[in-house]
């Protein structure tokens, strides 16, 4: 069953096109990472999915139109966003009261159990908490809601690596199961590489890559090429070549040439690349083609 279904999703701010006809389908039980440079349309896409901005094209989230049915949708959708900050005046106990009051699927005992594992006190106000603690609080509130879709927009921005690791650990161990769906965007892609089941690259309002992580690992291979094999490697048309400590590291897209894979092992150390490496390669590629088109 699809949790999010979009066809021809389009959004323009004046003459700037933020989303340029996006088709998207997210199934239940997936953890999808939406990756793109600043201004690529990630936040616009998430805002449309959360019913925070009107849009053109067809969009259903859990079978509902998010723009006209936001309040009903939010019974089953939660989101943590860098922009959706908890009010500074609220006390932790008040936040729990309020969630319990307005959220039919909120389990207060569960939220209190999560908070008990942190150093957050219920009498504290949000303004007295550190940035990391505010994110912990927000996550404790959201994880205690029995939601079907959780949207995370830069949830760990500005947090140190310990908090970031904890954030994704508790999400996976205490929250995620196969009837929930998580949609996450972040620039810290190395944090989520081993969390995701699906990956989507978005650039200039369009989706440029949409695959499962299994496919991703199958498809892309990074090889540290031995100096003697450089020419042999270049024949296989790497999508990107860079120098690391004086050695050439090449990224190959095995989908372009299925025979490549067997031959690569002979050229040097082959390994699965990071999301960031492939992302940079694809974005460079795009930049080149668009430059070529405008010249």
């Amino acid at each position: 069953m699809s949790v999010i279904e979009a066809r021809g999703l389009r959004k323009a701010f004046g003459s700037t096109i933020a989303l340029d006809g996006v088709d998207l389908r997210v199934d239940e039980g997936r953890i999808l990472g939406l990756v793109g440079p600043n201004g690529a349309g990630k936040s616009t896409a998430l805002n449309a999915i959360l019913g925070l901005t009107p849009h053109e094209g067809e969009l259903r989230v859990l079978g509902r139109n998010p723009w006209s049915e936001r309040d009903q949708l939010m019974r089953e959708v939660c989101f943590v966003a860098d922009i959706a900050v908890l009010p500074r005046w609220i006390k932790v106990s008040q936040a729990l009261d309020y969630f319990a009051g307005v959220h039919p699927r909120f389990d207060r005992a569960k939220a209190e159990a999560f908070l008990a594992r942190t150093s957050i006190r219920q009498a504290s106000k949000v303004r007295e908490l550190s940035k990391g603690m505010v994110v912990q609080l927000h996550l404790a509130l959201v994880m205690a809601v029995d939601a079907r879709l959780l949207v995370l927009d830069e949830p760990t921005l500005g947090l140190d690596i310990l908090y970031r690791k904890q954030f994704y650990d508790s999400l996976l161990t205490d929250y995620f199961d196969h009837r929930r769906t998580i949609l996450v965007t972040t620039h810290q892609v190395e944090d989520i590489q081993h969390v995701l089941t699906d990956l989507m690259f978005i650039h200039r309002g369009r989706i440029v890559l949409n695959c499962t992580m299994d496919d991703f690992e199958e498809r892309y291979l990074e090889v540290t090429v031995s100096p003697a094999q450089l020419d042999a490697a270049r024949v296989l048309k790497p999508v990107r070549e860079r120098q690391v400590l004086g050695r050439s590291v090449m990224l190959f897209d095995c989908k372009l040439n299925p025979a490549t894979k067997q031959r690569l092992a002979a050229l040097g150390d082959a390994r699965s690349p990071g999301i960031a490496d492939v992302f940079v390669a694809l974005m460079d590629d795009r930049a080149d083609t668009t430059q070529g088109a405008t010249v």
């Binding site: 959360l50 019913g51 925070l52 901005t53 009107p54 936001r70 309040d71 009903q72 949708l73 939010m74 019974r75 089953e76 939660c78 989101f79 966003a81 922009i83 959706a84 900050v85 908890l86 009010p87 500074r88 005046w89 609220i90 006390k91 008040q94 009261d97 309020y98 969630f99 009051g101 307005v102 959220h103 039919p104 699927r105 569960k110 159990a113 999560f114 594992r117 942190t118 150093s119 990391g132 029995d146 079907r148 310990l162 908090y163 904890q166 650990d169 508790s170 161990t173 205490d174 199961d177 196969h178 009837r179």
Partner: protein
């Protein structure tokens, strides 16, 4: 910072998805109003502080004036007797109402602007509460919560004032009978309640709704946006067309219209024998036109909030 342990007993992992539960609109509205009282504590603190100040100052009035007033009272006719005794009570009720009114104005201008300024609006929008419920909960603060709070505080404050007066009189060996009968506190309080309901809740509704609309719309300086455009249009009208239609409409709204209208709403100071006509008030077209305008403005504020993001 504690490290998070793996695994949590009692989590319903793998349990079948529950059907979407829902809560009654009244529950959502109740929690939305409570949330306003958490955020804007001045809603009750400011009127409470005024009551406290009145009760602190009242003993000075008592010791200096009350025994003297009681002695000279017999030379006055009954209506003047009431006025002389009731004056501090009227002043107390008036001050509490004024405090509630000022808080109402500042609250209404700020509430929908403040949640965008402190960037918490998207947090509130992440919860299953509609924009209309939110706006109506915010509107209920100046239109219901504050007038009712002012009334309760006036009752309590005046009751304490009466107790203090009685103690002073008894200590001076004077009778409290005249004070209690002349003051007619139940009647004047009933008039106060009538005034709050008719004037503050119903007659001023479009005024508060306008402030809420501007609060939802303005990107900065909502107070200026609430005040300046009507002022500018009024001045323009006066200079360009030599009449003041807008100014008259707004002036009527603030002052309670003509004398007849003011009488229908009950006006300060409250006189126990004052004649009010609720029937005529309810039949006044101005009342219903104002309420229709208020409903439109509140609906507009809810629509605006839907499009709004942090500023």
């Amino acid at each position: 910072m504690n490290t998070q342990s793996n695994g949590m007993p009692g989590l319903p992992l793998g349990a079948p998805a529950a059907p979407p539960a829902s809560l009654s609109p009244a529950t959502l509205f109740y929690w939305s109003v409570r949330r306003e009282l958490w955020e804007y504590r001045s809603i009750y603190l400011a009127p409470l502080a005024i009551s406290g100040a009145i009760l602190l100052a009242f003993p000075f009035v008592l010791f200096h004036h009350l025994p003297h007033i009681m002695r000279t009272l017999s030379s006055l006719d009954p209506s003047q007797q009431h006025d002389a005794l009731a004056q501090p009570y009227d002043v107390a009720a008036g001050l509490i109402m004024a405090a509630a009114f000022i808080v109402s104005v500042f609250y209404s201008v700020d509430c929908l602007y403040g949640e965008r300024r402190d960037r918490s609006i998207l947090f509130w929008k992440s919860l299953p509460v509609s924009d209309l419920t939110t706006v109506l909960a915010k509107a209920s603060i100046p239109l219901f919560v504050l007038p009712m709070l002012a009334f309760v505080l006036a009752v309590v404050t005046q009751a304490i004032m009466l107790m203090l007066s009685s103690v002073v009189l008894l200590a001076n060996g004077q009778s409290v009978a005249t004070l209690w009968t002349q003051l007619q506190l139940p009647q004047t309080l009933l008039m106060l309640l009538y005034h709050l309901v008719t004037a503050h809740m119903l007659w001023y509704a479009p005024f508060y709704a306008w402030l809420l609309l501007v609060s939802a719309w303005a990107r900065r300086a909502p107070f200026l946006w609430a005040v300046m455009p009507p002022l500018a249009i009024g001045v323009f009208e006066k200079i360009a067309f030599h009449h003041s239609y807008l100014a008259d409409v707004l002036g009527n709204r603030f002052s309670g219209g003509d004398d007849a209208m003011t009488a229908m709403m009950g006006d300060m100071p409250f006189h126990p024998g004052m004649h009010v006509s609720p029937g005529a008030f309810l039949a006044a077209p101005g009342l219903w036109a104002g309420l229709a305008v208020a409903a439109g403005l509140l609906f507009g504020a809810a629509r605006l909030r839907r499009y709004r993001s942090p500023i």
